[in-house]
Amino acid sequence: MMQTTSTIPISAQGEPPWVLPSRGIVGIACLIIAESAIFIIFVVAYVYYIGKSLSGPMPAQVLELPILGTICLLSSSITVHSAVSALRKANLRGCTAWLAGTVLLGAVFLMSTAREWYHLIHDVGLTIRTNLFGTTFYSLVGLHASHVVIGLIMLTTALALLLSGRVSEKHAERLEVLSLYWHFVDGVWVVVFLVVYVLGR
């Protein structure tokens, strides 16, 4: 048996440089694929049960388009993108501002969802156990909202680290990975919006 640990030949001259994708980006892409599959199943359940509730309030009667929340959430994708660009250029103050804006817009979205749910539960009497619409609505929108919460926690943590001076331009890629997660959350909202508030009504 040959001793081969360190005698594997070096590559020939003139070969192109060996470049591989970034781990963070590939990792978050995998996570996004897996999470998308979960969301797709909840969307399928929602679509399958459209019109099948045996009783109770129907979407057209009780749902209003969440315009404010949607605008805020989708804009927050722009702000987080700007935060990443700013950090790449070592513009720490700009990054802080854009990131704070993202957190704020995300929080407004959550509050508008909370208000909508309060209205549905207390005024309309729609809960997860009322009928199939209630079941699929709260679970799908709730699953999305929980992902917004997780995203906001991570963005706030990044903001806190920025404010305490621990972040510099060499962390730009990590912020980009986080921003990809946030873009994913926004993308899911586009689907949820179309399925629940447009198609389903």
Partner: protein, 561 residues
Amino acid sequence: MANGHPVLEAIDQTVEVKRRPPLDVVYEWVSTVDHKKIGLMYIAYALIFLLIGGLEAVLMRIQLAVPNNHFVSPQIFNRLFTMHGTTMVFFMGMPILFGFGNYLVPLMIGARDMAFPRLNAFSFWISAFGGLLLYFSYLGGDGLYGMGSAPDVGWFAYAPLTAKVFSPGHSTDYWTLAILLSGIGTTGTALNIVTTTLCMRCKGMKLSRMPLFVWLMLVTSGLVFVAVSPLTAAQIMLTLDRYLGAHFFDTQAGGSAVLWMHFFWIFGHPEVYILVLPAFGFVNEIIPVFSRKAVFGYPAMVAASVGIGFISLSVWAHHMFTVGMGPAGNTFFVFSTMVISVPTGIKIFNWLATLWGGKIIFKVPMMFCIAFLFQFLVAGLTGIMLSAAPFNWQLSASYFVIAHFHYVLVGAIVTALFGAFYYWYPKVTGRMMSETLGKWHFWLFIIGFHLTFDFMHVPGLLGMPRRIYTYEASRGWGWLNLIVGVGALFQTAGTLVFVYNMVRSYKRGEIAGHDPWDAWTLEWATPSPPPAYNFAVEPTVNSRRPLWDLKHPEDPDFNYE
């Protein structure tokens, strides 16, 4: 062994210290993020569950050995088949295969560890917790009152049997939660494998030069993302039904029992490919080395593996031919299921062509791989029978199906796994396993396998459904079930010989050296066992078989690829 690098030498020296305090050793293993140790923990964990799951099977076979038996009650029997299936799939099959993947993938691509070592450790521990939770149900399943009870809803837990009204208590919830947690762990490991494979290959190792085992782990991990998530989603829905009064699968409120079936099998079918693809990977590594020939048709093997991965996402409702999907639905799934036999067949033919013209060495790893080839062929053919929907209307939910899928799980996957153990044990421990004990293991197990699973097809053809704790004497199934039971005893004996072999060889096996099998992939370029850092210097490769190139400088592979 000096390697000229002061830090690495220091690491080497730390490991050489003999007789460390036991608590230190435990702490090292519990806190490790090294892919090799994590891989070994997965494997050890899975072996424990192999024995427990095997015991559950033996108890069932004793109950079924004669008609109208009273060895266990129906309640206990129903828990046994539920726990046996759940344990073997989620806490034996998945961990052991991802354990091998964890250990081997970085070594095979010339990397020093996985991309995310802490995620790797987290994934293991959360999966391990899931398994413990499942078995805790024996104590805690009934809540505070009375003895606990394990879940008894079958491993695929069809609705509405799992609704609160039909399954009161918490046994079903232990099933749900245990699998949910292990699903998180599996997804984390898959994420690690994909990222490591795409981002950490050594210089020169283009994707088209990776060992086939690495390709198969890559495809498997991709499947995990899109297959395990649907199960996670369905289990969240089930838990919402059981605890918050949701109606996802509540047929009284207009919900659909068939929807659970779709969601489960959208997971369940790719799941069996997740289990079998790594087994293909083992065979892809072992057969060439013991035929002394390169694998025949590497590009076709890659294409077939990727193809199988994609097609496996479209066949799920062949588990549902009897639920009344109608001719259009049934016909589509007949077609997709039959189509998947084409790339699968290609793989079998390529293995055959690899053997052809070679110099076949019948050491124990190869013996298991040859058994794999015959057995997987049969399993695939009974699969084709089941894919013909009308034939399926008779055979589904019968012992024919149980025989078919055990032919795949045991005859193909476990058999290939045994081969993998004998093949890579020398690398992991530095010692060879005993060939003599290995041959005893092989023959006892294979004879037992065939006694059990060949004969098991027949009761299915004679009308015996699955999941029954007993049967009428007048059906004529008694003598067949008796033979099936006897085979189980042979398999148990073989497995015990195997465990003994592993334990004994650890201290008394022949010293293995770097490359006892004269193989060609990078893991055989490291010492046995490899040091913590795997490679002192990152290797550079020029072909699919870097060690062949070194051993045959007059005729290297890169002239032909």
